[in-house]
């Protein structure tokens, strides 16, 4: 295998991993912006996305449609949860409360998934038009992963434009910087919070639906992914959207390099990077220290 081809495929491998990571981490970081605490249930939400996506694709027969249905359904679940529970907790400003309520949610949802879909793992096959193999400098590379990369990049651009250019995006950025101030200025920040929570969940669900053809949908599929996403968010900077993009790419590359050259240390690599970043910049690469 010549080096160029090898290097190119490894880069693409890393970018495709970064795409999936980005969907989870971006939701996590946006939610952090409004809650100021880690959403314990994010991994379970990711798993729910994969299962809903499976059903949607099995019923409709269209994988692409399932990529639309899963985020919508899970986003609604997220918004309902936010309205009924989280909504009443903001006033308390107690990080413990968020932690516990999202822990409860995680436990309940994963059991609900077991009851609804059973323990048998489920496979969402990829549609035929995404099944092929592309030769990149003579090396085989799956079309599906190129699709993931393309989707990841377009989502990143779209969200960035949305946050940067629209009024809603401006509001979200404002709320995550200073909620009281925005409220004092007469804006209904409740609506913003509900929307952002639902949106964050929807992104995670999309990640889950996209990851299902790579790993199949199974119970516990979110447990390790979510910790990777935590690391991405921390490295990139809590609450920073751009940080979540940079973090995803960085972590994905570290994982690929670690897995290839430092097999024995692959697990430790990511955490070493995170420690290094936090020691140098306690707020993460693009975050500000709070």
């Amino acid at each position: 295998m010549d080096f160029l081809g090898f290097a190119a495929t490894q880069c693409l491998n890393a970018l495709s991993q970064a795409s999936v990571l980005f969907f989870i981490a971006c939701g996590l970081t946006l939610i952090f912006g409004i809650m100021r605490v880690i959403n314990f249930a994010h991994g379970v939400i990711f798993m729910l996305g994969a299962y809903v996506g499976y059903t949607a694709s099995a019923v409709s027969g269209s994988f692409l449609l399932s990529l639309v249905v899963a985020p919508i359904v899970v986003g609604i679940v997220g918004m309902v949860f936010e309205r009924v529970f989280l909504h009443r907790l903001y006033r308390r400003r107690d990080p413990g409360a968020y932690l516990m309520v999202t822990f409860g949610l995680a436990v309940v949802v994963s059991e609900a998934i077991r009851l609804i879909w059973g323990t048998q793992p489920l496979g969402t096959g990829i549609p035929d038009f995404l099944r092929g193999i592309v030769l990149v400098l003579g090396q085989p590379f799956p079309l599906y992963r190129l699709f993931l990369i393309a989707l990841g990049i377009s989502a990143a651009v779209a969200i960035w434009q949305f946050l940067d250019r629209t009024r809603a995006g401006l509001l979200i950025r404002a709320v995550s910087q200073n909620a009281e101030m925005v409220q004092a200025l007469g804006t209904d920040i409740d609506l913003v919070r509900t929307g952002v929570f639902g949106f964050g969940c929807a992104l995670a669900a999309l990640g889950g639906a996209l990851a299902a053809p790579l790993v199949t949908a199974f119970l516990g599929m979110g447990t390790t992914v979510v910790i990777d996403a935590f690391v991405v968010v921390i490295v990139g900077g809590m609450g920073s959207f751009l940080g979540s993009i940079i973090g995803s790419v960085l972590i994905a590359f570290v994982q690929v390099v670690g897995a290839y050259y430092f097999q024995e240390l692959a697990l430790a690599f990511m955490y070493l990077l995170m420690l290094a970043v936090l020691v140098v910049r306690p707020g993460g690469l693009l975050g500000k220290e709070e």
């Binding site: 952090f32 100021r36 605490v37 880690i38 314990f40 529970f85 009443r88 907790l89 308390r92 400003r93 107690d94 990080p95 413990g96 409360a97 932690l99 516990m100 309520v101 822990f103 409860g104 949610l105 995680a106 436990v107 309940v108 949802v109 994963s110 059991e111 609900a112 077991r114 009851l115 447990t223 910790i227 935590f230 690391v231 921390i234 809590m238 024995e264 240390l265 697990l267 430790a268 955490y271 070493l272 995170m274 420690l275 936090l278 020691v279 306690p282 707020g283 993460g284 220290e289 709070e290």
Partner: protein, 326 residues
């Protein structure tokens, strides 16, 4: 009711508990006490410094692995093994605490998480020593000092754990009520002000983190010989998350609350899973309900019934909290 009466009453009650319970319950009760101790140690950070550690599994795991290896390879007497394990953890905790206390809020949480996960990864890296995914099995539970066959029996071990828990509680209580604790309270309420009064706040926080690791290691060191093994799960982030939940559900900043929280969490999980396969549904719902209806945790519920003032004080504290995690 004076706290001393309360303490003596609770101690007596615990001492008599094994005789009121069916034999088989003793295992879970011992583990409940161990988790109570672990949760209480985390409360030193969470409740008294508002340092939300997301990596307390490191303290627990270090204590358990150190104690397990010492007992297995060097055939030490149990109390010595346990104390040495605590000492080792404290030594390791110092640089960890030094790095972690550079940050506050979420950064602090994530640094502690990183160290715990790094420990988890190291277990797999050095599998010749740590046993990798198997962990350490066949950890002996040597008899007590002077060869009194105490700790070998479950009842004897129950008293050992109870003794450690009550002793640790008294120690922690003394610490948080000492001048040192007063400074902690000042830091918790307003760190900038405390610093401007001339306190080196970081040194105080560092000491608290190391203390918390020490007591957490004690819990781990008690667990390993009781279960007879130590496994990588002890280090995993889910363990850290669970301990944090135990502190919150018990009532942070009260020491007693987290002990109750830890015990209740474990016993509830164990007993619910006897009732139905879908026990997580009930388990999760209980936690959600607790957040919604009992914001002060278990201890808040109890003191709320018996003494209004305590809950008011504790409520006032939460109200004042500036963006705590941030």
């Amino acid at each position: 009711m004076n706290w001393k009466h309360g303490f003596i009453g609770a101690a007596l009650l615990c001492a008599l508990l094994p005789f009121a319970l069916p034999q088989y319950m003793l295992t879970i009760v011992v583990e409940a006490l161990i988790f109570g101790l672990l949760a209480m140690s985390l409360d030193l950070m969470v409740g008294y410094c508002r340092l939300y550690s997301f990596g307390h599994a490191a303290a627990y795991g270090l204590g358990a692995y150190a104690c397990g290896m010492l007992l297995k390879h060097f055939a030490l007497p149990l109390p010595i093994g346990i104390l040495l394990a605590v000492a080792i953890t404290v030594v390791i905790a110092i640089p960890i605490a030094w790095i972690c206390t550079r940050s506050t809020g979420v950064s602090f949480a994530m640094l502690t998480l990183a160290f715990a996960q790094l420990g988890y990864a190291m277990l797999y890296r050095f599998k010749e020593i740590t046993g990798g995914s198997d962990g350490i099995d066949g950890i002996p539970r040597p008899p007590g000092p002077f060869n009194i066959a105490w700790f070998e029996s479950k009842l004897g071990y129950y008293y050992l754990v109870l003794f450690c828990l009550l002793g640790s509680y008294l120690l922690c209580r003394a610490i948080v009520r000492s001048p040192f604790g007063t400074v902690l309270a000042a830091i918790r309420e307003n760190e900038v002000k405390a610093r401007s009064l001339g306190y080196n706040t970081r040194r105080y926080k560092l000491a608290t983190v190391v203390l918390a690791y020490g007591f957490g290691a004690l819990a781990g060191a008690l667990y390993a010989p009781f279960a007879g093994f130590a496994s990588p799960e002890l280090f995993f982030w889910l363990t850290s998350g669970r301990v944090l939940i135990m502190v919150v559900v018990g009532g942070a900043g009260t020491l007693v609350g987290p002990i109750l929280g830890g015990g209740a969490f474990l016993i509830l999980e164990n007993e619910l899973s006897q009732l139905t396969d879908s026990w997580p549904l009930i388990f999760g719902t209980i936690f959600i309900a607790f957040v919604m209806f009992a914001p002060q945790g278990i201890w808040g519920l109890i003191t709320g019934r018996f003494g209004r003032s305590a809950i008011a004080a504790s409520a006032a504290r939460t109200e004042e909290a500036p963006d705590a995690a941030a």
